[in-house]
């Protein structure tokens, strides 16, 4: 449950949201995304799509569609003509060994998580929210995808929920701690 949570992100900000299990990290993310309605307080956000990697990444994929269509989803929904080519280019970097036309339901856990990350990065929005986006990945994949995330973000803002100090050091310039639903900001 959130009690005194406050978080602000501006264009280009790269913020880590850290805290113990059950502290309210995912709840805060869901409130920011508009998926959970807060009983009090205010959420102000710019209109438009948000790239999102949920904690339950496997359930968030469309197993009946190809990996390519999954990644292209944000672009297709926004009716962008380059949705497919942009998704293909991202997949080439994020999942180079996977056939883009493979059905998403047939991917391994790590591949599913990487697909969810690629989909978030394919979003035309100015904000990417990633809730533990590397939790199912091995050390080398984690390292590689951190690099891809950093490069593909461009000028977009990032809110990264993580338990990993390496993720924070590598990707973020601000850290927000959350515990028992209360946030406190610290320099990274």
């Amino acid at each position: 449950m959130l009690r005194e949570a406050s978080l602000s992100l501006r264009a280009g900000d790269r913020v880590a949201l850290v805290g113990p299990n059950g502290a309210g990290k995912s709840t805060l993310v869901r409130v920011l995304l508009g998926l959970t309605r807060p009983v009090g307080g205010t959420v102000l956000r710019a209109a438009g799509a948000i790239g999102y990697v949920p904690q339950g990444y496997a359930e968030s994929l469309f197993p009946w569609f190809s990996v390519l269509r999954n990644v292209a989803m944000p672009g297709l929904v926004a009716r962008r003509e380059d949705a497919d080519s942009a998704a293909r280019a991202l997949l080439g970097r994020i999942l180079p060994g996977v056939d883009p036309l493979r059905r998403a339901g047939r991917l391994s856990g790590g591949e599913k998580q990487a697909t969810a990350l690629a989909r978030a990065l394919a979003s035309p929005g100015e904000l990417v929210i990633a809730d533990e986006p590397f939790s199912a990945l091995g050390a080398s994949s984690r390292e590689r995808l951190r690099r891809v995330l950093r490069e593909e973000l461009g000028g977009r803002a990032l809110l990264l929920v993580t338990h990993d100090a390496g993720d924070v050091a590598d990707l973020c310039d601000r850290t927000v701690h959350i515990d028992d639903g209360r946030t406190a900001e610290a320099s990274a």
């Binding site: 508009g34 339950g56 989803m73």
Partner: protein, 252 residues
């Protein structure tokens, strides 16, 4: 403790088949009031060789009756289910009413259909359709009430319109439930088609054939017809089980 399932063996399958035929033969040896309950396997095979052309015609008639009735029932069920899914949000009692309608044995509706349509093919088809429609409509209602999934949330976050979100998720998330409903309805269609043929003098069909064999005291023909009806139901079920397996592939 977890035991690995033994690999299927051809010898075991043949042995089981031989056992089943042996059991059939043993039952055929039982006579009640001087008459056999069922014909022996050999006599049934003899009946098959004698009556194969007419059996094929009657099997086809029953299959066609079940198929047309099922198609009509599915069409009606889809419309009723979609309407009920929309209306049930305001009147949840609708789901109970559909469940009640499904619980009415379809063959009891045959007299109603006979009154409405007369002693015609239409009455039989309407009865089969009635038997199928409610199961399908309940499946549609269940499919429509699938909880807001993580995939819907992703589409919401991506800025999808409700129409886009529906197109990306609903047909696929509903597929499994609808195919299960279709499978149940198809089994009902075969049963109801045969029963309507038995109750109202159909010219062709397994039901009419069974009644004719019973009246004529033709144990071989009767046994063959029962097996043919079972085979028809089994084949329909087998085909739809394949379809269900295919649909379930999309869920994970």
């Amino acid at each position: 403790m977890s035991g690995a399932r033994p690999a299927p063996s051809r010898a075991a399958a043949l042995l089981t088949l031989a056992g089943a035929i042996g059991a059939w033969w043993a039952v055929a040896m039982i006579h009640v009031a001087g008459r056999p309950l069922v014909a022996t396997p050999a006599a049934t095979l003899g009946a098959l060789s004698r009556t194969a052309p007419t059996l094929a015609r009657d099997l086809g008639a029953t299959a066609a009756r079940a198929g047309v009735g099922l198609a009509a029932g599915v069409a009606a069920g889809l419309v009723i289910g979609a309407l009920a899914a929309v209306l049930a949000r305001r009147a949840p009692v609708l789901e109970g009413m559909l469940d009640f309608a499904r619980s009415v044995p379809p063959v009891l509706i045959l007299p109603v259909c006979l009154l409405a349509f007369g002693y015609s093919e239409l009455a039989r088809l309407a009865t089969v359709a009635f038997g199928c429609a409610w199961t399908i409509s309940l499946a549609v209602m269940t499919a429509a009430s699938v909880p807001w999934s993580a995939r819907r949330e992703m589409l919401d976050v991506a800025g999808a319109t409700p129409r886009q979100a529906l197109a990306w998720t609903q047909p696929w998330e509903s597929l499994g439930v609808l195919v299960v409903g279709l499978r149940a309805s198809a089994s009902t269609a075969v049963i109801v088609a045969v029963v309507t043929e038995m109750l109202v003098g159909a010219e062709h069909g397994l039901g009419a054939r069974v009644i004719a064999a019973q009246i004529g005291g033709d144990a071989e023909g009767l046994t063959l017809d029962v097996i043919a009806a079972g085979a028809l139901g089994y084949l329909v079920n087998l085909g739809l089980r394949g379809l269900e397996r295919w649909a379930r592939r999309f869920e994970t």
